[in-house]
Amino acid sequence: MSADLSQFFQVFFDESTEHLAEMERILLSIDPHAPDEEELHAVFRAAHSIKGGAATFGFGDMASTTHTLESLLDRVRHQELTLTAEMVDAFLETKDAIAMLLAGHRDNTPVDEAVVASACNKLRSIEGGEHHPAVEPVTDGAEALSTKSPDGTTEYRIVFTPPADLFKRGVRVEPLFEELVSLGELSVTARVEVFDDFNTYDPEQCYLCWDMTLLSAARLEELSDIFMFVADEDEIEIQIVEPASLHKESPALPETDSINNDNVSNPSPESPGRRLYDKNETAPNAFGRRPVDGTESSSIRVGVSKVDQLINQMGELVITQAMLAQTAQQFDPVLYESLHRGMALLQRNTRDLQESVMSIRMMPISFIFSRFPRLVHDLAAKLGKQAELKLVGETTELDKGLIEKLADPLTHLVRNSLDHGIESPEERRQAGKQPGGTIILRAAQTGGRIVIEVIDDGAGLNRSRILQKALENGLAVSDEMSDEEVWQLIFAPGFSTAEKVTDVSGRGVGMDVVMKNVQAMGGRVSITSESGKGSRVLVSLPLTLAILDGLSVRVGSETFIVPLNSIIESLQPQPDDLNTVSGNTTVRVRGEYLPLLRLNEIYSIKGAVAQPEQAVVMIVDAEGEQVALLVDELLNQHQVVIKSLETNYRKVDGTAGATILGDGHVALILDVGDLVHLWRKAPQI
């Protein structure tokens, strides 16, 4: 994408995602027998917006699919068509198809043509109209000229009117046509001026002009680039043929039987379309530059192992670059200016490359989140409960592998919330709550990890019942256990306090499988709950290949890395701000007392600075809670590659992997949230 348009693309993607979500929300909540007028208008408007944007940006497949949906919605809202439940399902299916196409354009994920075709066919049969081959996937390329295929190709009308001195200028046009042919299906028609007297003909003048139709997946900029050296803006006119109009008119390519034609040196454009490239507007810009982004919105299937290899090698590169950077520091910046300049450039390039490589495997979590509104809708109905689902942070990206593995555990947690958390409407009313409950699914990236929360405003966990059940199961429990410890009990195998086993959840295999699955991903689960108010299940996962921004710190002779996003501030405390009670030290920061975690004690490191007022205290954020870490010294800010400890060893508590420093040594990367858990387990520290 050229710089001009790409910023609008992203806005279009984001807005369309919202429109699609809005459409689904409304369609899910609408009553087919008594549809709310306002809601019908809203769905229509959403579809209309998507269609318009898709057409503008040349996403022909989205535009045509949305157009069909939009016209049906239009008829429904004007009461020309009665809404039925089947239609709502068809609309939902179409919305899914459009979402898939959108994702294909945005993320280059593969698009299942059959799904799109199926949705469109359903719409067609509702319309009662004939099948328009235009909307089905094109199998025979020859027909593609006048039809629209949903695979992201656009039809362009190109009119080329070269100046008379084209030949004299020595410009060769043949390569031009070759290039256009290479971009797709090209149909060329040439027109020549009419002469009646051969004697008036000047062979060195050009009397030709061309009218072409190109069906291509290429972007507008690529086309205009082809003509860059050949023609001025005056001489080239490229239009995108709007797909919708194809249904209304036959292909509008003017026939050129030019022997019978009269003076046609200035052909007029006949087919409708948005003129996107016109005189003095977006002229081809940078000299010789082709758009950086790929031409296709289609994808390439690449083996996962190849991608992983690429990611690993990228990680190595970052480490090597870091080592180089460290070595380069020894060289005097003035004497070795070009070396330092080169190193800075290398750093930037490496960073850009790293981001691109990382993004290959990263997908937005909306991929799994998107299934939940439907799930909640159906399940709540089944259970006779009312619940609304809110999704927050859908665009949070995580590794594709994690997404796949997260689907099942998350599903279980959401079902749990609905089944055991949210009470029935009567119960809720009796408790003074709104009859409908709310479930929030939230995802965010913090401190080198992905945090996903399932929050409900239901009844919360029943502490006594859990303790009871644990006792029955022979687990060692006591009333003195903290709430956090009691909630952890439900992760034991075979544990379930459900009085009757519904087929939804509560078979007792659920939570421990969730825990196992999450741990297998290198993550952890924690629960907070308040009786009568609700519960929150927090799943924290590592970002695979994280190239983390971290601060290296020294404790004794060991180096640790603290993720930069966890750090709030660092300070050297005054003796007055420190307070030690029964072995626990707190630090006063702006009126608040934060617990002090002594890293040297947690990690049994000898030779560290014992007195906080002579060391450094780092205030960090640990899953919403602020704590203070005691370290000897702050060292440097680095970009570090998270190397797995679990691969060959095992998870070390309090850490999120390790990294290899510039000097080749291994340093542990602290996971502040986990560190707090670790610290709490042995409270004497």
Partner: protein, 108 residues
């Protein structure tokens, strides 16, 4: 392939690109002016193109205009024995419709 045609009236040859067309014009002009000893048969002028070594858009334009002018005079010129290279250039630049074949000679 050179196919047998009855009554080939004239043979075109040489360089029909921008560099050479000014020369070619002369011979064409002679024919269209009715001089140069080329006699049409039944108003039909069969023009053998196999000798054309190289031709580009300017050459094709020239040929086309010439054919057109002849037609206005009531003469039908038929271009035969085009080399593969010439055929492909004709097609590439979208002039194939202009050189649409008449009934009995295949240009494409």
């Amino acid at each position: 392939m050179k196919t047998e045609h009855t009554g080939i009236a004239t043979n075109l040859s040489g360089d029909w690109t921008m560099h050479g067309i000014s020369q070619q014009v002369q011979s064409l002009m002679a024919i269209s002016n009715g001089v140069g000893g080329v006699i049409p048969q039944n108003n039909r002028l069969v023009v053998d193109c196999s000798g054309i070594k190289e031709i580009d858009i300017s050459g094709l334009q020239l040929l086309y205009v010439w054919v057109q002018c002849l037609q206005i005079k009531g003469l039908r010129a038929e271009l035969v024995n085009l080399s593969d290279g010439m055929r492909s250039t004709v097609s590439k630049v979208g002039l194939h419709k202009l050189f649409e074949p008449s009934q009995d000679t295949a240009l494409l």
